[in-house]
Symmetry: C2
Subunit: 492 residues, 2 copies
């Protein structure tokens, strides 16, 4: 089944006929048919090579031979459920535990990030006996119904009447475009205080907090990096109210941020979530994911008397693949590569910011980076159409990048972790050319906005934990943000 069997048009026709129309495709006017992939490259039916800057699921590189071998060998031996003892299950759990703080010691293996986040909510509801959940603006946590409820990225369109009344949306800790920005003396405290006030409001109405949930770095929400110390303070408020802190590492975990294995660790060694969910990169494309929590939470979940059984979760094949992924990350020092190449990429992008007025903000850690395009650095008017144009023109040059965030104006880098400095050079060079052409067409010049840049407005460097220090940020606090219509969008 690996070779192309159908003419591309036939594939498209059959897809229209038999696949749910809500399942969107990249570049719908001229979609790409991919036949094979290797490392950070994908190949279409004509053998054309695409540089993949977006598939964080193919974490250690597409079709990594060690991962394929581990999966194939285990498939030949045994693939059954976790009601039987098997070494892969417990050895893999132990390996994951080794990457986490000691108190996060109990694993539940499931099949997707959605199953993981849903189980995290169930654990929190059961442990606390409370119902209310606080989520962040623009958050995306999955596609099952309980998670649509806590994903403003998804439910934004729905009427208020349809909203789950026990879900509360706190401001995104976005120091570029959010309520408190980089020039605020203490944005971490200011954003955390918003959560504290929200908890107070819930209590006033007689509700109780079960959990606060956030991606350790918001991905679909626009590659948002919360200010260090924010999670610690939120956790303090939430725990004081009897709730749990759930860190969603589905998109950003497993060494992607370079300096640390888990993105929540960027907040500092003094921060440990109560529940961590992991997904996409865990099996390099194999459908698997995991929830890790504390002994106390696990015991409380058991005390309900309700068994938890997941047919495929933790099967020997998934666990063999999961261990192979961890082996490759270690053997090829992919976390180190993410740090080094990520730094290089960020430096290149910062230079683009110095050169191109369309570039409003550069942010990220390791191989998780965002380039926010704006038409006006003063008003932060999102350059949505321009971002789409960049994506389309890159595609014509065989580079896969995507744009996301509430305004779809943030170019998202989250490539396979074998992404190289040469790859970074190439893609940034192309972006440079495209932005130059776009700005010429728009009549945009850097001096138009240079007057609003000053030292005090720059994103504050964070020295702890080996953070990359990103600098340069417009400081405007104006309320006119030129919010475009939020239409159906692709999460990538």
């Amino acid at each position: 089944m690996s070779a192309e069997q159908l003419e591309k048009n036939n594939t498209i026709d059959l897809r229209k006929k038999h696949i749910g129309p809500s399942c969107k495709i990249f570049f719908s006017h001229d979609p790409i048919k991919i036949i094979r992939a290797k490392g950070q490259y994908m190949y279409d039916e004509k053998g054309r090579q695409y540089l993949d800057c977006i598939n964080n699921v193919a974490h250690v590189g597409h079709c990594h031979p060690d991962v394929v071998k581990a999966g194939a060998q285990q498939m030949e031996q045994l693939n059954t459920n976790s009601r039987f003892l098997h070494d892969n299950l417990v050895l893999y759990a132990q390996r994951l535990q080794d990457t986490l703080p000691d108190k996060l010691s109990v694993c539940y293996f499931v099949n997707s990030g959605s199953e993981a986040n849903d189980l995290a909510l169930r654990l929190a509801w059961q442990y606390t006996g409370h119902k209310n959940v606080i989520t962040l603006e623009n958050a995306y946590h999955g596609h099952v119904s309980s998670l649509i409820d806590i994903s403003p990225y998804k439910f934004h369109h729905a009427s208020d009447a349809e909203h789950n009344q026990s879900v509360h949306v706190a401001p995104s800790p976005d120091v570029y475009r959010g309520k408190y920005r980089a020039d605020h003396p203490d944005p971490a405290t200011a954003y955390a205080d918003e959560v504290k006030d929200m908890i107070h409001g819930v209590h006033e109405k007689g509700g109780k907090i079960a959990a606060f949930i956030a991606e350790s770095l918001q991905s679909c929400g626009g590659q948002v990096i919360p200010p260090p110390g924010y999670f610690q303070q939120v956790a303090e408020h939430v725990r004081k109210a009897g709730g749990l802190f759930i860190a969603d590492e589905v998109q950003v975990g497993f060494g992607r941020v370079g300096s640390h294995f888990w993105a929540f660790q960027l907040q500092g060694d003094d921060f440990v979530p109560d529940i961590v969910t992991m997904g996409k990169p865990i099996g390099n494309g194999h459908p698997m994911s995991c929830v890790v929590t504390t002994r106390e939470v696990a015991e409380a979940f058991m005390s309900s008397g309700m068994e938890y059984f997941n047919t495929f979760g933790g099967n020997p094949v998934s666990c063999a693949i999961g261990m192979a992924v961890l082996d490759v990350i270690e053997k090829e020092d992919l976390q180190g590569n993410a740090l080094q190449v990520g730094r290089h990429l960020t430096r290149l992008l910062e230079k683009q910011k110095e050169k191109h007025p369309l570039v409003g903000d550069i942010r990220g850690h390791g191989l998780f980076a965002g380039v926010e395009l704006v038409k006006d650095r003063l008003k932060l008017t999102p350059a949505t159409a321009e971002a789409q144009e960049v994506i389309y023109r890159l595609k014509e040059q065989y580079i896969l990048l995507s744009a996301d965030g509430p305004h779809r104006n943030v170019l998202k880098f989250k490539p396979p972790m074998c992404f190289s400095t040469e790859d970074a050079d190439m893609v940034v060079e192309k972006i440079d050319q495209i932005l130059t052409e776009l700005e010429k067409a728009l009549g945009l010049k850097l001096h138009n906005i240079s007057n609003v840049e000053n030292e005090s407005s720059k994103r504050k460097p964070t020295n702890e934990n080996g953070h990359q220090c990103l600098s340069g940020l417009a400081h405007n606090r104006g309320s006119t943000q030129g919010v475009p219509q939020r239409s159906k969008r692709l999460r990538t």
Copy 2:
């Protein structure tokens, strides 16, 4: 990772340390460590062979070489998401469509039966604009939070206050132990009228029906076979109320019932659900599943403007595996084998019923069969402890069988589809020996209950659709059913 690396006790210790205690194991006092499996056999760390009568997930046989090969080859080539065109996705969708009535033409590929049933609810909610769901007593539809709500098998323990008020539980159409039994002149209509009355009740309170959901044959609920015509009538009532009929084929689809590819087809050619969910057997253990619905429902779902994206769903590896499973079912005529061996197994079990007072009812289709054990054929007192004893003694003789149903007194057969007549002979012979010993110990003799057996009380043969005609059924309508405490149980 395939060979044993740890002493069994170490595996157990690590499991206790790192795996959620709600994740139960078979035979917890002396669990089985399985190292490899082939066809209908599993092998422990000492090389001992177990006959597998329960793993319906390993549908075409454990580690079938064709399935392993298809998966391994595709893993080497490409494993990515469905935002790119790929032939496997559309060809597999077409293959599934070929097995279904024409109007069920649109597929959504997901990762588990739970994801499938949750999506089915989302489709129904969106299409109808209604919220209320009717489910069956003792039903199990999955482990995500929305499905716990519609799974009385799971939420039985929870207090009424915790129940979702938009979920309504209709009587299980169980003609052996249920409200209307085999001696009722028209149990199908009687049970369907219960649903009609329930809809009326919902309307009276101002609610509206989004869906009725049922397994085409109840599995965890006790291998319950709804009387033919029941689904048609329920569908009529539900559709009249603007709702949809969701057939859950996660456990019972893909040829298992022998006479048909889908278990809902046992109800007759005039019955077509609006949504069909499939799971466990679809990938022979690979984490994958699917929702199929009509064009109308799919278009309505799209009209919400909300994209549906599932990271792993419909990836080229899953689809290659899915097609290989369909190929093997066809090539090895496993549906035919299910019909033939299922008939043989049922005949053997019927003889056990003639011989053993503990056997209250034999029911099933193909390789989906149930043996309900009772201490008293008059009162139908569930022989729960005896069923557990049978399971334990079989395990000692290297046969894996399980007991389920609300009273955990129904022996469940759902073996890999390559199960043979010799396997059936062997397991029934062992059951015969065990029941003989148990009845001797209990002082049970057949003549104690023979007086309540008469021709009129027997389960009505159903001639259409090649049904196996099961006969023999106690007719007692007494209300004392000896309901034991429903404690946490294993779904198998």
